[in-house]
Symmetry: C2
Subunit: 270 residues, 2 copies
C-alpha cells in the first residue's frame, strides 16, 4: 500500500474475493472506543456497491444496521443487487466476520435526472469555518483525529455535570487530511455527530448506534463542486426513551447546498 494513500482510501481499498464478495479490514485511523467508528464501516459497506460491476447509477439511500462490534482485522462484505429496474437498483449488503453477521444493510442506487427542485431546509446562519476555533476539548476517541472539527455549538462537553438542555450541534467538518468528497466519505461523515445523549445531558453513558440511514441529495457533479471544502453539519435528537434515542442530521456544503439528510437510532444505558 503506497505511503501517500489517504487513510480513508486505505480503508476503502477492498479486495475482491468472489462475485459480490470483498474483503475489508478495520483501519487504526478510524478506531473507536470499542471496534471501528461506525461511519467507516458504513462507508466500507457502500464501497462494495460502488465497486460492484453490475451497479446502476449513484447512491440515493443507504441503511446500515450495526449488529455487533467489528473486531480489529479482516471481514467480508457481501453485496447483492436484489432488484434492478430501468433507473433504480436495490441492494442487500451483509458484513460477516468469524462466521457471524456484524452488519446488515440495504442501499438504493439510481440514475439522477434534471428536474424541478428546491432545498426546503435552509443552512443555519453560522460564522464561516475560518472564524470557528478548533474544539477546546478533544473527544478521547482515536477516529476523531481523522476529521477536522470547527464546532459552532454543541460539541463534546468540557464538563460532565448533567447540565445540558438541548441536543443541538452545529459544526464545520471535513476529512483530515483534507480529501475530495465522494459518496463513501459522505456516508462516513454522516456518522460523525457525537451521540446526542452526551450533548443533551452532559453525561457519559454507554451508547452504540443501532441503525443509520443516509439520504444522498447530492450527485457526483455536486460532490466535485464541493471538493475538499468544509461541510456544515447539524444534528438533533427528537426523543430519548427506554434505552434508545434518535438523531436527525444534515450536511451542507459551505455554499448552502444540502448534500445529505441522515438519521439514526442509538442504544443507551441508564
Amino acid at each position: 500500500m503506497a505511503m501517500e494513500m489517504h487513510p480513508f482510501d486505505q480503508a476503502l481499498d477492498l479486495q475482491a474475493l468472489s462475485d459480490g464478495v470483498w474483503q475489508a479490514r478495520t483501519h487504526p485511523a478510524y478506531a473507536n472506543m470499542v471496534g471501528p467508528f461506525g461511519g467507516i464501516t458504513a462507508a466500507q459497506a457502500l464501497q462494495a456497491v460502488l465497486l460492484h460491476p453490475q451497479r446502476l447509477g449513484e447512491p440515493i439511500s443507504l441503511t446500515v444496521n450495526f449488529c455487533a462490534a467489528v473486531a480489529d482485522g479482516a471481514f467480508e462484505v457481501h453485496a447483492r443487487p436484489a432488484r434492478t429496474n430501468r433507473s433504480t437498483q436495490h441492494w442487500v449488503i451483509e458484513l460477516r466476520q468469524a462466521d457471524a453477521t456484524v452488519m446488515t444493510a440495504t442501499a438504493v442506487t439510481a440514475l439522477r435526472r434534471e428536474t424541478w427542485g428546491v432545498d426546503e431546509e435552509p443552512m443555519p446562519l453560522c460564522p464561516p469555518p475560518e472564524d470557528c476555533l478548533p474544539p477546546a476539548v478533544h473527544a478521547p476517541l482515536p477516529f476523531t483525529k481523522a476529521f477536522e472539527y470547527r464546532p459552532v455549538t454543541g460539541h463534546w462537553p468540557c464538563v460532565w455535570d448533567g447540565s445540558g438542555d438541548t441536543s443541538l450541534s452545529q459544526i464545520w467538518v471535513r476529512d483530515q487530511p483534507a480529501r475530495p468528497l465522494d459518496f463513501a466519505s459522505l456516508a462516513c461523515i454522516s456518522d460523525i455527530f457525537f451521540p446526542r445523549l452526551f450533548i443533551r445531558r452532559a453525561t457519559l453513558v454507554p451508547v452504540g448506534t443501532v441503525s443509520m440511514t443516509v439520504y444522498f441529495h447530492a450527485g457526483s457533479a455536486q460532490l466535485q463542486r464541493t471538493g475538499d471544502g468544509y461541510l456544515l453539519g447539524q444534528a438533533r435528537a427528537q426523543a430519548f426513551r427506554n434505552g434508545f434515542f434518535d438523531q436527525s442530521s444534515q450536511l451542507w456544503d459551505r455554499h448552502g447546498v444540502l448534500l445529505v439528510t441522515t438519521h439514526q437510532i442509538v442504544y443507551y444505558k441508564q
Copy 2:
C-alpha cells in the same frame, strides 16, 4: 375469514408456508393508484418479524425499500434473524412475488428497559381533533378511506395551480374504523403522509416512495395507553432535487407522547 375482522387485521393475517416464510395478500381496502399503499406492505413485512417464533423484544427500527409495484394477489414474506444479541436482534426481510423481489427490508427488535428519558421534539400546538373538520377534498386513492383524517394544515390541495410554498402538513389521523394501535399499524400509519411534492408545489406528478425508515419510540405499554385514539402527524421535506425528495415525519398521541419518528426518500418525475 370472519366478517367482523378489521380490514387491517385481514391484511395482516399472514399464512405460514415454512420456517421464516409467510404468504401475504394485497387487500382492496389498502389499494393505491398502482398496487397497494406502501404503508400496508411495510406493516406486512414487519408482521413476519412479529410472528416469528425466534423474535426477541419489540420493534425499534424498520427500513423498507420499495423495489417494484406489488401486483394484486399473493406474495411471500421471508424474515430471517441475522443476528441475535443479548437484548437486540437484527432482521433481514424480503418480499417476493412471481420469483422477483418486490421489497427488501431490515428491522431491529430489542428489549426495552426503564431509563432516563426526555422528548425533545414537542408536539406542535394544534386544535384538538374534535375541532378539526374532515378534509374538504378527498384524495382519489382507495386506501385513504381506511383512515380518518382531520387535517390541521397542508392536506391534499383543493386547487392544483403550482402555488405551494411549504411542504409542512399537520394532521390528526387514525384507522377507520378505529382500531387499537399496535406496532404493525404504527408502521402503516407512518406512511400516510401524502408525497411532500404535492403539498409544496400543488402539482400532481408521478411519485413513488423508494425507501422508508421508522423508529419506534413507543413500547407496547405506551401503545395500549394510546388505544384507538387520534394521532397527530407532522411531515415536512428537506430537499427536492434530481428526481428524489425526502420527508421527515413524527407521530404523537393526543397527550403529546412522541410515538414514532419516520423518514422516507421518494422518487418524482419532472
